[in-house]
Every structure is written in structure tokens, then in C-alpha cells.
């Protein structure tokens, strides 16, 4: 049946994308939110939405990153977390840099997203723009300010 085939095809494609991207997306969202539950919810929901939308999404890779960050941002806003909780230790390797995550949690949303995507996901300014919806101008500003603030918070050991 054509309708069934059409319904299955996007899910297969999205599953391949999930296998390629989901771990990195989850870790980026975890660094962004300092909350494993928020990261998990954002990853699951963004891929669920991608499956539902199927071929209506032109660039699924950019879409899941963008929607993941927006879902996480919205959830953080909903929780009114002006100061984010410390990382959930159950997900953290003993060697994980909790100092870095704690410093990240003190950056504004835009700066935190730009810094995480640049330093962890190796994304260019253009790619960060696509993945967050910020203009390239805003990405540059957020990246510059976020980098400076992060260095200050980490004791300026990375100058």
C-alpha cells in the first residue's frame, strides 16, 4: 500500500539520522541544560516530531538540532530556572568536567547554545545559525560574549 510505504519511509530515514546524531545531540543538550531529564525529553520529542513530519522537513539533521535546543530552552524557561541545577551525577562519568558544566549553566541561553555548539559540536557560525535559528550576527555576538564569560568563570585559564 502506498500510504503505508509513505508512512514507513521517513521513520527509516529518521532512525538512521538518530543513530548518527542522537548521542551528540543529547550531550550537547545536557551541557546546555545541565539536566539529563531535559536533554532526554528534548531529544525524544524532537525525533518524534521529525518522524511525524516525515518528508515535510527539508533538512532533518538541522531540524532535530534546532527543535531539540528549542524544546530544551522552552522547558528551562517553563521551569523558571534562572540558576540551573548541578548536573545529574547518575549520567556523569567521574572524570566529567562538572566545573565546565556549572560555568556553562551561568551563561544566558543564547551564549550557552552558541558555545556548546561551537566547542562541542564543532559547528561553524553558519551551522550554529541553522541549528538555533539565531542570525549569524547574533551567533557571532553570543559566541564572543559567551567565550569571554566562560573564561572568566573558569578562572581565565584558557586565554
Amino acid at each position: 500500500m502506498e500510504s503505508m510505504a509513505a508512512a514507513v519511509r521517513p521513520a527509516v530515514t529518521i532512525e538512521a539520522l538518530y543513530r548518527e546524531e542522537a548521542d551528540r545531540l543529547w550531550r550537547a543538550l545536557y551541557a546546555f541544560s545541565s539536566d539529563a531529564e531535559v536533554a532526554s525529553d528534548a531529544v525524544a520529542e524532537s525525533f518524534a516530531q521529525a518522524i511525524r513530519r516525515g518528508t515535510a522537513i527539508r533538512d532533518p539533521r538541522a531540524w532535530v538540532w534546532k527543535s531539540g535546543f528549542r524544546i530544551a530552552s522552552g522547558e528551562l524557561k517553563r521551569r523558571s530556572q534562572s540558576v540551573y541545577a548541578l548536573p545529574d551525577r547518575s549520567y556523569v562519568d567521574p572524570e566529567t568536567d562538572t566545573e565546565l558544566l556549572t560555568a556553562l549553566a551561568k551563561l544566558p541561553d543564547g551564549q550557552r547554545a552558541a558555545v556548546v555548539l561551537h566547542y562541542y559540536a564543532d559547528a561553524s557560525v553558519r551551522e550554529i545559525s541553522r541549528r538555533t535559528g539565531m542570525s549569524q550576527l547574533a551567533v557571532r555576538a553570543n559566541l564572543s560574549r559567551g567565550r569571554k564569560r566562560l573564561k572568566l568563570l573558569l578562572g581565565d585559564r584558557h586565554g
Binding site: Q49, R70, K77, Y91, G133, A138, H158
Partner: protein, 407 residues
Amino acid sequence: MDDLYGRFRRLDRIDAPDLWREAVGRAAAAETTGLPRPTQGLTGILVVALLLALLAGVVAVGMSQLPLVVGEERLIVVSECALTSVSLEDGAERIILGGPDHCIDAGANLQTHTGGGRTALRTTCGACFGFGTAGTQWVGVVDLSSGDARELDACRPGEAPVCLGDISISPDGTRVAYTRWNLATDLPELVLADLDDGERRTIPLPVLPFTGISWMPDSETVIVSAGEERAGRLVGQLYRVPFSGDPALIVEAEGIGLGPVAVSPDGRSVAYVTAPLPARAEVRLASIDGSRSETVWQSSARETFVGISWSSDSARIAVTEVPRAQMTAPLSVHVVDLEAGTDATAFTTDGVCCRQFTVATWSPDGRTLRIALDLADVRGTLAIPVNGGGPVQVLSEELAIGWAPAP
């Protein structure tokens, strides 16, 4: 290399959970919800008219007649799982509403209307009439400053089926008007709600709510288009409905349905669209008391959707014309100058129209029109100079759905 890279690399040591089954489960749960289709009480002509009216809404994104708000220009944008506010000056973006509960499918049927620092939203009605998207249909108001969202009405799977129609927020942002169709009682209704004191009125509509609600500038009265069957013929009607008072009929049009309506910013006139399918759509202009009415624009094609918006000086109307079968002809935007009595085409797509589009709306200074399109090769929001010059893409990818002053 900056040592920050090295510190971020250590994130790879964290075990990420496998969430694929969870994602598939969520997608499946959303697909399997559904609502019954209406089966009783509608005559054939009215069923066709209602479906056409609803279809007009389904093919477009944000078919509202957006008001013009003078102030710093910010776009209200819907995109992946968020409603955001974007400055045209520096591109700075602020999320107004986001999260898993707000993955609004812009391609389904989203309507928004901004006024007084608030945006009124309606999400898809797909489930009610089998247009494909199941799930909760919702109307509510979002505060553009705080992001606080307030639900006003909803139809949820398993509850009494209600189809929610147009929603419009008053210019001062204190009141909302929307239409709903209770499928259990087969009754269409206009709901007026005061957002501050909670007062709420429900007014029965004659037969059909079409696709038009527009507030008067004083935020006291709403103009709504409806319809009635009389001796087997459809009669389109425009009503003036005070927030506290009885509705008054101001225009009646035999044999045709009425579509979108828009009250002029000076409050003296109301523009409305006639939809005499399969004939050509017209834009008509009536005085607010209905004492005079004239045709100011007529489509050159048959079976088109027509959306309208006023310039802030009440001197011009932008007419967005889209073929109902979207992929068969171009989209075009016309400017009707009421004082000069002219009609000029300001913009037309190079090829056939689009997967999604918004009705063109005016910038506060009246120099440009903004429209969001999803074409084969371009997706984004365009600024169209009214007095000549090519369109400029002001946002890529993003589909802007409204204008608002900076909160």
C-alpha cells in the same frame, strides 16, 4: 588550540541514553489519536461551504488579518517547536514559547493575531475534519513579554468534539474573539472573552462561521462574517457584535459566502472577501454601519483564496491571492489604493505557489509588505517594496507570522 575544545571533548565520556523507542512511541501516540467526523445536521450546500472555508484555512499558515502595530519592528516567528520574536535590526532572537508542548506544526493550520503585547493562537483543527493531523486543538493567548500562555478553549481526543475556528485579539490586547463549532450539538458559536476580568460571552451564529473576525480599533466591538441557508441558497452575512450588546447585521450578500474580514485602522470601513465559488473572488468595502458597499478588487482567476490587510493610514489594502490548488499557479500580492482608485501587482512568485504562505501584511511605515513563503527553492520571509524594487529576504528558513512592538 584553545583548551576549551579539550574540556568540551570530555563530554563524550557521558553515556547518552537510547531514546529511539521513546521517540517512536511518542510519534505513534500522536498519530493514533483522533476525533469523530461530523455526520449530522448539515445540508449539502453548507457542508461544501464549510469544507471550502476550512480548506482555505488549512492550505495557509496564519490566515489572519494581522493588525498593524506602530513601534519597533519585531517579527513573531513560528519555527521548530517554538514561537520566537526576532528583531529586524540585529536579528536578535528571543524565545517566547517553546518546549515539547509547543511543537506547533506550521504546515497544518496555525493562525495568529497580535495586539496589545499579546498574541492569540489557534493550532490545527485537522483531527476534526480528517485533514490528517490528529491531536489537541487549542486556542489561547501568549504574552509576548513573559511568554505566559493561557488556554482559552481546546478540543482534546476523547472529549466532546469541538472545532475551533478563527481567533482574533483586540488591538489593546484585553479581549479575544473566536469561533467554535460544537459537533455534539451541531451549533456554531462566537465566543467573546475578556482576558483581564474573565468575563465570557457565547453568541450563537446563524449557521456558519466562515473565516473572518476583526476587532474595531476601540476593542469594544468585533466584526464577524457568517452565513445562513435561506430557501436552499446560501446568504453571506457580516455582523457587528459589541462585547456587551446584541449583534447587528450590517451586510447581507445573497448566494455567496463571505470570507476574511478586516476593519480599517481608522474604524470607518470594513473590507471583506466574497467567495462565490467557483466564480471569481472579490474584495468589497463597506461602511462600518453597512450603509454603502462597493467592490474594490476582483480576482482575474477562478477558485482562489484571497487574504486582505490594511495599511496603517487606512488608504490601501494589500490583497494576497493564492490558487486554491496551490501548486497550479503563482501567488500574487496586489495593492489597492482606495484614494487613487488604482490596483497594482506588487509581487508574484516566479513559478507555481508554495507549500505554505502567510497573507502579506504591511510594515508600520507602509513602505513594504512582508510575506512568508515556502517555495521550491526559497523558504523564508520576504520584504516587498510597495513602490518598486525587488523583494528582499529578511529571514531565511523562518516563517514569520506576525508583527509586534518590542515587548
